[in-house]
Symmetry: none
């Protein structure tokens, strides 16, 4: 019977993932609100009502999908990180991994972060049972930021990073740049060249765009509030 329950659980997990895959496709294309449960069900090969055997409601599908993907991303980031290597080697791997990871699913990331933002603002919308799941989602979201920030802090201690910008801001900026890439791809409707994008982002993050000769532009004189 144990073997049977294991098999059953495996089958069930597979179906759960089928649903999440279908949901990702639909959510990515239409965003949360315009995605109909019926589309997700159809895409997954189920009837609409069947989804309720696996998830309590539409929100839950979205949240579990986001959790699954963020969880996997975090694992991948951890996997490619080697703290013995210089920071920028790891950073490059992170950028590449992030861009590759979502690959065709970059569009979903846009929805996911939007949804996350909405959840933060609009907490009254959530029923109690979602709070926990939402927290889990938030946890993964922030885990990724933290993971970055810690690497950055270590790099600062080792002198690999000279910028006066705080580690928190840096990790936030890197996230913004990656998300910006997803948005760009989504707008163009195709995934761009990961390697090219990685190189370009890395160059930008590493050296900024200032002149080789800092004297050229000198310390910026704040023009005050306009």
């Amino acid at each position: 019977m144990n073997a049977k329950s294991i098999r059953d659980k495996t089958v069930r997990d597979t179906k759960c993932n089928l649903i999440l895959d279908a949901a990702r496709k639909v959510f990515a294309a239409k965003g949360f609100h315009e995605s109909r449960l019926e589309d997700i069900a159809g895409e997954a090969g189920f009837s609409k009502a069947s989804l309720y055997n696996y998830y309590a409601d539409k929100d839950e599908i979205f949240l579990y999908l986001a959790i699954r993907d963020f969880e996997n991303l975090l694992s991948s980031l951890v996997a490619v990180t080697n703290t013995d290597q210089p920071f920028f080697v790891n950073l490059e791997r992170h950028i590449r991994t992030s861009l590759n990871f979502f690959g065709e699913h970059f569009a979903f990331m846009v929805s996911a972060t939007n949804f996350h933002v909405t959840l933060r603002i609009n907490q009254e919308r959530m029923v109690e049972q979602h709070k926990i799941i939402s927290e889990k989602f938030s946890d993964y979201y922030h885990s990724i930021l933290s993971f970055h920030r810690e690497l950055i802090e270590k790099a600062q201690q080792k002198g690999e990073i000279s910028s006066r910008v705080s580690a928190g801001n840096i990790s936030r900026y890197i996230s913004s740049l990656i998300r910006g890439t997803f948005i760009e791809w989504k707008m163009r409707g195709v995934q761009g060249d990961t390697e090219e994008e990685t190189a370009s982002l890395l160059a930008f993050i590493r050296s900024g765009i200032g002149s080789a000769d800092p004297e050229d532009s000198g310390p910026v004189q704040s023009a005050g509030k306009q």
Copy 2:
């Protein structure tokens, strides 16, 4: 009668703007889909049905609102730009202006760019009459990017920018960073300190985060695809 038609037009314009202001408040708080026309109408002091005297439908309200705000932003950016000044002076002004400009409306920017993204993908969703408005919106959106890009290109020619990253990418990255700031603010629920954020962003964009001594980390050796 001419004076009367001018007066009438002025009154009408005022009402249009009242509606857009109300719409911005609601869209910013809830995003496009969860915003109900009734809320916008109430916020503007009209009944729901009255909105249809000024705008054809919900999409149009959103689009005209976005156009108005992007148009204003572009004007402001143009106004603070002085091409005789060094590039980074102008960049700083742009960042500050962008962050200030939306001020309390930063949350709307998040919705606006999301909506824009959705429109790009989901063109079938649009009725014919929206296409032209949507184009106008796109135009403004890209005008801002172009305006940046041109400044960057000029700075490259003058040697103020040493980066090998393309002007297009740079302008995109800057946009991503600003949008990222809005998202951060929206998630925290408050507008951050514009000056602090401006300085931090400028430092990051200008110099990146690499060590003062480029030898430290050397040219990054790509680790290849994972």
Copy 3:
């Protein structure tokens, strides 16, 4: 404008009552759960969605309907009561009024009291906004019982009632008998003869069914628990 608002309010009230009338017809025939909003709307000459201009949801329609009818019944009972008359004269009028009042709507009374019972038990089912309305419903329900009980108490003081049964129980028994009549009518599918029923009920309530000669059966010897 005052005249207009009065007219508007009148029209609105009329429509509200049309809806309640339609609802009564449907609820009476099918009970609460099997009544579809669409049927009620159709019966009232509205579309289903229109009902929501007048009532927040299905429960509210039911509750307001019950309140309206109980309120009217109470008014009618008060109107026919003359405390200068002997108790049994008033009682007869009450029975006749109750049976007449619902007339063709007796079937709804069955649903209404059932619903009331369910609400009492299943309070978790109610949203906050219904609690108030439900209380009002309860109030009317109990007002009628109280109104009866007070009349009975006065009659007891005047010696018109000799029974040792408490006033509360008597009023409850009378209610049960009237409800029983509605149930009987509903099962037969037709309204019975009000006068006949009134006379029969009154005779039963007044004199019971005991033999003219109380010696015949003597004090009942309790047979103890079975």
Copy 4:
């Protein structure tokens, strides 16, 4: 093999009764429509699908449950009846038996009679296969009424009952009073004191509430229709 089929039948009957017991609990608490098959199954220790091995559908569960309980009630009433005893002795036993019989299940009686009422009206709702079961239910329902009525008729012949009210009506009134007691208990959420209630009901039924001195109120003068 005969022994085996007997055993099998016994086991099956036991399971049937387990289901009915569970159903009674759920139906009593929530009424027919708000009771979910899943709740009944859970309460009985089965899965929802298993119920279909014993009963064709939800209606059938309800009907068989009602039949079983009415059948048992009828048996009990027959058992406590001794036609050698005075009528009021038997009546008292009947009331006590009815109140005791349902004991904790009084709430179900409310549902059952409601359901019965609905079935009478809404015959189109029934599938052919239910008609026969429903008839059986009706038969028991009416058997109880008939059983009462016959006792009353005999009592009338023996002069134990002086009332001019017809035997049919009297039996109906008694049923109404008992049902009213169940409703009262259900609303209060607890079973009342059976002995007290029995005594009170009996006093009411036996002697009514009229004054000891009939001259007090005299023959009631009908006030005519209001």
